[in-house]
C-alpha cells in the first residue's frame, strides 16, 4: 500500500445562486472567438486542493453544485459527507445576497447539523459594480479575502472540530465520517 501523503481529508461544498461566479472565483483558462476550451464545455465536477494548517497536510475535496442550484433546492445526497459549506453571493447582484438566507434554510434541512458554514461575497474583479455594500455584506460574510484564504479558514474551522482525529489508511472513509452532535457555531456570520 502506498504511503499516506496527508493527514486529513475534508469534503467541502460551494453553494449559491447560479451566476454568482462560483466557478469564476478562480481565474479561468479562457475561451476566445475562434476556440473554446474543452474543459469549459464539459464542466468541472470537483477539485482537490492541498493546504497546510498547523503543521498538518490537509486535502480539500471541493464540490460545485453543478447546475443543481437552478432548481433552488439541493437535496440530502449532495450534502452527504460535507464537512464544510462555502455560501457564495455576487456583490453586484442584490438578489443573490438575499437568497443566502434561503440557502441557509436549505442547509439546515438537509445537511448534517454540525457542518461548518462560511459566507463569501464574490468580486470577480467587478468592484465598481458593487451593489451589496461592504458594510452590509461584512455583517454577514467574509469579504476582502480571496477564495484560497476562505477555503483555508473554512478548513481551519473544521480542524478545530476534528482536532485529534487523524486520517487512517482508508482515506475515503474520513470524508463521510464526523463527530456526532455539538452545537453548530455559524462561525462565518458576524465574526
Amino acid at each position: 500500500m502506498a504511503k499516506k501523503t496527508y493527514d486529513l481529508l475534508f469534503k467541502l461544498l460551494l453553494i449559491g445562486d447560479s451566476g454568482v461566479g462560483k466557478t469564476c472565483i478562480l481565474f479561468r483558462f479562457s475561451d476566445n472567438h475562434f476556440t473554446t476550451t474543452f474543459i469549459s464545455t464539459i464542466g468541472i465536477d470537483f477539485k482537490i486542493k492541498t493546504v497546510e494548517l498547523r503543521g498538518k497536510k490537509i486535502k480539500l475535496q471541493i464540490w460545485d453544485t453543478a447546475g443543481q442550484e437552478r432548481f433552488h433546492t439541493i437535496t440530502t445526497s449532495y450534502y452527504r459527507g460535507a464537512m464544510g459549506i462555502m455560501l457564495v453571493y455576487d456583490i453586484t447582484n442584490e438578489k443573490t445576497f438575499d437568497d443566502i438566507v434561503k440557502w441557509l434554510r436549505n442547509i439546515d434541512e438537509h445537511a448534517n447539523e454540525d457542518v461548518e458554514k462560511m459566507i463569501l461575497g464574490n468580486k470577480c474583479d467587478m468592484e465598481e459594480k458593487r451593489v451589496v455594500s461592504k458594510e452590509r455584506g461584512e455583517a454577514l460574510a467574509k469579504s476582502n479575502i480571496n477564495i484560497e484564504r476562505a477555503f483555508s479558514e473554512l478548513a481551519e474551522a473544521i480542524l478545530d472540530k476534528t482536532a485529534g482525529r487523524e486520517a487512517d489508511a482508508d482515506a475515503a472513509r474520513i470524508a463521510v465520517e464526523r463527530r456526532p452532535s455539538r452545537a453548530p457555531p455559524a462561525r462565518a456570520c458576524c465574526s
Binding site: L26, F27, R28, I39, K47
Partner: protein
Amino acid sequence: MSESENVEKSVEFPETDYVEDGQNKLIIKCKYCTSKILDKKSAKYITQEKDLPLMQQDKNKEGEVQSEKINQFYHVENMYTFENIGFTHTVANHKYLSCADCDAGPVGYYDMDTKHSYVALSRVEHI
C-alpha cells in the same frame, strides 16, 4: 523515415531527464499558472498510447472532439495523491483532469472503473 526513427520521435520526454526509479523525477506544475499538481516521486511513469482532447477546440468543428495521441503518462493510483487538480464531469467512463487554479486542461484523464488517474507529460510543466 525508418520505423525506429518513428519510435524515437514519439518519446518526447527522455526517461533519463524525467524518470527516476520508475517515478516522476521532478515536481509537476500547471503550464499556465504554475499551480502544483504532483509532488516529485509521487506517480509511476508509464507508456501507453491514448487519445487526449486538445485543450483548445476549434469552434467551427462543433460536435467533433479534436484530439491528439499521447504516449507518455504519469500513473496516479489514489486521487488524493494530487496536490491540486480538477476533475470534469464524466464522459464515456472518463473524467478529464484540469488545473485546479486556472482550469487549463485536459492534463490527463481519470478512469471510472479502476479509479486511477493518468497525467500526460506533454501537458504539464516539470520543475
